[in-house]
Symmetry: C2
Subunit: 328 residues, 2 copies
């Protein structure tokens, strides 16, 4: 009876693994998938020297360009543009603001030059005075009607199917999956639970100042016209430390803004996983890296080669990019 | 067979509830325990109009004075004092700093006057240059040898047994239990998982600035000599919003520093639970409220009476305060 029990357990164990890997149905067999699966096996196998207890299985994912598309502009920029237009008349001082002019004229070169902080500052000013609940509602309303200029679909249709499968696969193996993005935290929290199964408390992002007040006796948080924290580049490990307090053992990114997060996660005891999603599929999505103004991948690509990080080719490693495409 | 199955399910359901309540063994039967248990029943009963899905069952707990003792001074102040003494020679400029003088001379009146921010700033300066890993290690080392002046025990022996039972009880009912404290986030993360079963990512606290660096090629976060965020009073709802992104449905505190957190959680659809732990047991712990310099409870006590929040009497509602006492 003891022997039968052992056999039964082994079968169950193999069964779980086989099912989970079968669920990576949009991934081609190849070195990227093999490296990810091997890592997950190593840290979940109690007999492995690389075993990691479930509580420490923290995996962090950039959002724009890693879990969904980010071209021709960050999707949040499209939202911001609509918000800015709605309140521009109240802000004549924006006329000479380079970030505002770049946004309104969709001048990508200028947007890249001014950087993320002035853009987040503009948004903070545009939304100042809204309660956090009102702001969340404005995002959800916008998402319902907004359409991507190339794919003519809601933006939330442009999440990467292989990455969704990967998130589910890692969670099945006891990982906590966290988003760590330069984007505004509320813009993601409005939809990541439905789209990725990632709840609001596992979303780390850039943050505006908010202030507690009793508005008509009702306790609310009101947005202030200033930025509290920019969760990009070297800010990402800081955001991770503040929110999680543990060093991740796996990190996924696609651009130089993810470099420090990848470095931070890639070092430490045991085995680590650092993955870069490489946009090399002009036909099904977009092809860009070292020269791109959005999601530039240059230093992190060099580092990936030097450190033997996993580089996922969207063209070669993914049987489909979006859920609504056929597998190939 | 259908009938038997239904009976079986009912028995299982009653069994779980009875066990969980039996585990509130250090709570006297009385209005406080009854109110807490009723709230938990309401939000977990799918047939109740107050039912709340598990993902939204967020409960927040102040730490000092709510989950463990805070007299004669916040335990973190004892740690800080030792840290300050260790580096004071390197900081001659502290000689005229009121927060430093109050700490070194244990002048509680002066400490209360200067407030929390200058004290946190001193600590930030004292620990600047340490990596976050080094700082965490210094806390764990201190906790191993430090002893409470009255009880002559390690500080972590002074966690409240009834609150530990309550944390476990709420988690058994699908709640996420979060700490929301004015104390430094690292000082709690060093021991809350072992003591309360609350992992680092569910600890919200005050935060020093940290900076990502490659130190000898190794990616680390280094503490800066400044405070990034004070998670106290009106800062608590802000800290909750940043970390969780959802309004809690239950909040537990013991002082005016918890007032805004209690207000924030106590309002919204459905039923809500706001609880104040009242220190009225001089014999087993301490007795203090409106006049105390540490953990003053004045406005929040008025608000509790006006809003019919639950006020827990440590003397009457708890059969024991600490795990190592006999039940009475």
């Amino acid at each position: 009876m003891t022997a039968r029990l052992v056999v039964g357990l082994v079968l169950v164990s193999v069964g779980v693994t086989a099912t989970a890997e079968a669920n990576l149905a949009s991934w081609q067999e190849g070195p990227a998938k093999a490296a990810i699966v091997q890592f997950v096996r190593d840290v979940t196998d109690e007999k492995s020297k690389f075993f990691v207890p479930a509580a420490e299985r923290i995996a962090v994912f950039d959002n724009d360009g890693t879990l969904w598309s980010e071209q021709p502009v960050y999707f949040q920029a499209a939202f911001m543009l609509d918000r800015l237009r709605a309140v521009a008349a109240e802000h004549p001082e924006w006329k000479n603001n380079p970030a505002y002019e770049a946004l309104i004229s969709r001048d990508e070169a200028q947007l890249a030059r001014v950087g993320m902080k002035p853009v987040l500052e503009l948004l903070a000013v545009a939304n100042a005075g809204l309660t956090t609940e009102e702001y969340g509602a404005s995002i959800r309303t916008w998402l319902k009607s907004a359409v991507h200029p190339r794919f003519r679909r809601p933006y939330t249709d442009l999440v990467y199917q292989p990455m969704q499968e990967l998130l589910a696969y890692m969670r099945e193996h006891g990982f906590q999956t966290w988003i760590v993005s330069g984007g505004g935290i509320e813009f993601m929290r409005a939809w990541t639970e439905a789209a990725y199964g990632i709840p609001p408390q596992q979303v780390i992002g850039s943050i505006a100042e908010t202030k507690f007040e009793l508005r008509g006796g009702e306790p609310v948080l009101v947005r202030e016209p200033s930025v509290a924290f920019v969760d990009d580049g070297p800010g990402k490990p800081v955001g991770i430390y503040r929110a999680i307090g543990r060093r991740p053992i796996a990190a996924f990114g696609n651009s130089d803004g993810d470099l420090q997060m990848l470095q931070y996660a890639a070092v430490g005891e045991g085995t680590r996983l650092a993955v870069i999603v490489h946009h090399d599929d002009m036909e099904r999505e977009y092809a860009y890296d070292r020269e791109s103004r959005i999601g530039r991948l240059d230093k992190a690509l060099d580092e990936a080669k030097a450190r033997k990080w996993v580089v996922v080719s969207m063209k070669d490693d993914w049987k489909r990019v979006y859920r609504w495409e056929n597998l190939r």
